[in-house]
């Protein structure tokens, strides 16, 4: 079983649209949406939820106002500035429990925190593990790890050949959690200076965690000079550019219809490129 994660550094380059299409093209796979704080893959795959589970993670401090003598020690020692007017701001509290331990009158308790939910669903294209981090919650990295673990268990049970996961933007905690230990990363970029800048950083993260990467230039024709720069850069770095997908409004049309673009219009140039891309990826995953 081989795991592919789709990343981009910069947001909005087309990760989810491409994953939606790979979901329709790949056989014998489990899908995972690792963008747990702004998940969109379900909008293309129309999952029927089979299982919904709570994600409890971390703790939040609570001050018992009856017991509190307002001595001022906890706001002074809290490194996260989470205590104001002897009340805990649950958004700032990182659940370390320092305040509970130092409170001289034991007025502080730690409460378990419901941080979100995760789901196992059926889609037309196979099973999907996805999640929803609660509003303004922490620990997105842990929830991503949980999604991947569930996807892996399910893939093993079914003897699936692939896990395809849609990653979050950026290079921080949830990205690292999506990437580490995967067999390959597909980096979706766009020919803008921002796209190039962010590609370089996310490729650095792949190197850091020893995950081989492939690049796909999306909307390559909005600036062909920049697309050539990306190709030159990738050549220097020894990274293959596996597809050049043109800009086409049918990607948005397909999204509005709630369909992967290869399903919506299989003969379009966009779909043909994505099909080639998947053949390339599948071949490489089988070989590595």
């Amino acid at each position: 079983m081989k795991e592919l994660v789709v990343l981009s550094g910069k947001g909005g380059t087309g990760k989810t649209s491409i994953v939606g299409s790979l979901a329709a093209l790949a056989e014998d796979k489990v899908l995972a949406d690792c963008d747990v704080d702004a998940a969109d893959l379900h909008l293309l795959l129309e999952p029927v939820v089979r299982q919904k589970q709570e994600f409890w993670s971390g703790q939040v401090a609570v001050i018992d106002q009856e017991k509190c003598t307002q001595c001022g020690l906890c706001p002074e020692l809290c490194h996260f500035e989470a205590i104001k007017d002897f009340r805990v701001d649950p958004v700032s509290c990182e659940g370390c429990g320092f305040c509970r331990r130092i409170c001289p009158v034991e007025a502080i308790t730690m409460k378990e925190n419901l941080s979100g939910h995760w789901f196992v669903s059926d889609t037309e294209y196979g099973p999907l593990v996805h999640a929803r981090l609660g509003i303004a919650q922490e620990n997105s990295g842990k929830l991503v790890a949980l999604v991947r673990q569930q996807a892996r268990e399910m893939a093993e049970e079914r003897g699936a050949a692939f896990i395809i996961s849609d990653g979050p933007p950026g290079i921080g905690c949830p990205v690292i959690s999506s990437l580490s230990g995967a067999h390959m990363a597909l980096l979706v970029t766009e020919p803008t200076l921002s796209g190039i800048h962010d590609l370089e950083r996310v490729l650095g993260v792949c190197r850091h965690f020893n995950v081989p990467a492939l690049v796909c230039i999306n909307k390559y024709d909005i600036n062909e000079e920049n697309s050539r720069r990306i190709e030159d850069y990738c050549r220097e770095q020894g990274v293959e550019v596996a597809a050049r997908i043109p800009f086409d409004n049918i990607v948005t049309e397909a999204m509005v219809k709630g369909q992967p673009v290869v399903q919506y219009n299989g003969d379009s140039p966009v779909s043909r490129q994505i099909k080639r891309l998947w053949q390339n990826i599948a071949g490489r995953l089988a070989a590595n």
Partner: protein, 288 residues
């Protein structure tokens, strides 16, 4: 006045709006731009600041003095993040798990633990042709964005106008960047993904009690559900930017809208005036 520019979905145009707003207003009032997208900061590409100063972003991690340590195990017991493990003859520290809460060093009965800074990134600042520019950047491979965001935020000079470019998503980095601002602009696009993530972003910003409004980017298609949602939720759409190849091409070359099409500067000045008006009247979309 502090205005944050956020969005749930990445790539909707936060950077374009933040940099154009700063660019349009710089000749009229003191403007500071804080790029808090410390995983993938892009504002520098558009504003080309002359960086004159920088400081490291460090998080305090425990350093154990083995000469004083009795291996009692208390530090490992109290650490909520499993960043310490006490063996019979030594203590192992896992700095990448440490949140820097300070509990272990304060509570160690032998005073054997001190806090040592571990560098995870950098904050840089300088002048961008009249804009007071600050950005943060975490190192490739580092997971924790919030400490770097906090350090960028500390440089806010609230005497003038402060514009904050927020990272995508809805979790802790977003909260860290947005909290304490007077107003939040949510940039979205008229697509199902744009709408789905806008709804999440609205919930997050409302949770923080900050008045908000929407900027609709790449407008012009048939999909009108974003407008519908805003109407139902009583959220003003303060600016609409059309889907135009010209704007996308400027962006791809690292030229922000207000610079490449100076006639749009008037729109960004109006945008600031509208925000002022909402704040003066107290009619921001605060209520659920």
């Amino acid at each position: 006045m502090i205005i944050s520019v956020a969005s749930g979905k990445g790539g909707t145009g936060k950077t374009l709006v933040a940099t154009s707003l700063a660019f349009s207003l710089k000749s009229r009032q003191p403007v500071q731009l804080l790029d808090c997208d410390v995983e993938e900061p892009n504002d520098h590409i558009f504003l080309k600041p002359l960086i004159t100063q920088k400081e490291a972003v460090c998080i305090p991690v425990p350093k154990v003095d083995e000469a004083k340590c009795t291996h009692c195990g208390l530090c490992a017991e109290i650490c909520a993040y499993n960043a310490l493990a006490v063996l019979p003859d030594r203590v192992m520290v896992f700095p990448e798990l440490c949140h820097g809460c300070g509990a272990c060093s304060y509570l160690c009965p032998e005073k054997a633990i001190s806090e040592e800074g571990r560098e995870i990134g950098v904050v840089e600042w300088g002048d961008a042709d009249g804009i007071d520019f600050v950005q943060g950047r975490i190192n490739v491979g580092e997971a924790m964005a919030p400490p770097a965001i906090r350090q960028v935020r500390e440089r806010a000079n609230a005497d003038g106008l402060v514009i904050i470019d927020v990272p995508p998503g809805t979790s802790c980095p977003v909260v860290e960047a947005v909290k304490g601002s007077h107003f939040c602009l949510l940039v979205t696009e008229p697509t199902p993904f744009g709408l789905n993530d806008l709804v999440l972003a609205v919930e997050t910003v409302r949770e923080l009690g900050i008045p908000l409004a929407v900027v609709l980017n790449r407008a012009g298609g048939e999909y009108n559900k974003v407008e519908e949602y805003c109407r139902e939720e009583n959220i003003p759409i303060l600016l609409t930017i059309p889907l135009e190849t010209r704007i996308a091409r400027l962006y791809s070359r690292g030229v922000t809208l207000a610079e490449g099409m100076p006639e749009t500067q008037e729109l960004f000045i109006l945008l600031r005036d509208e925000i002022r008006k909402i704040l003066d009247e107290g009619t921001g979309s605060l209520k659920r």
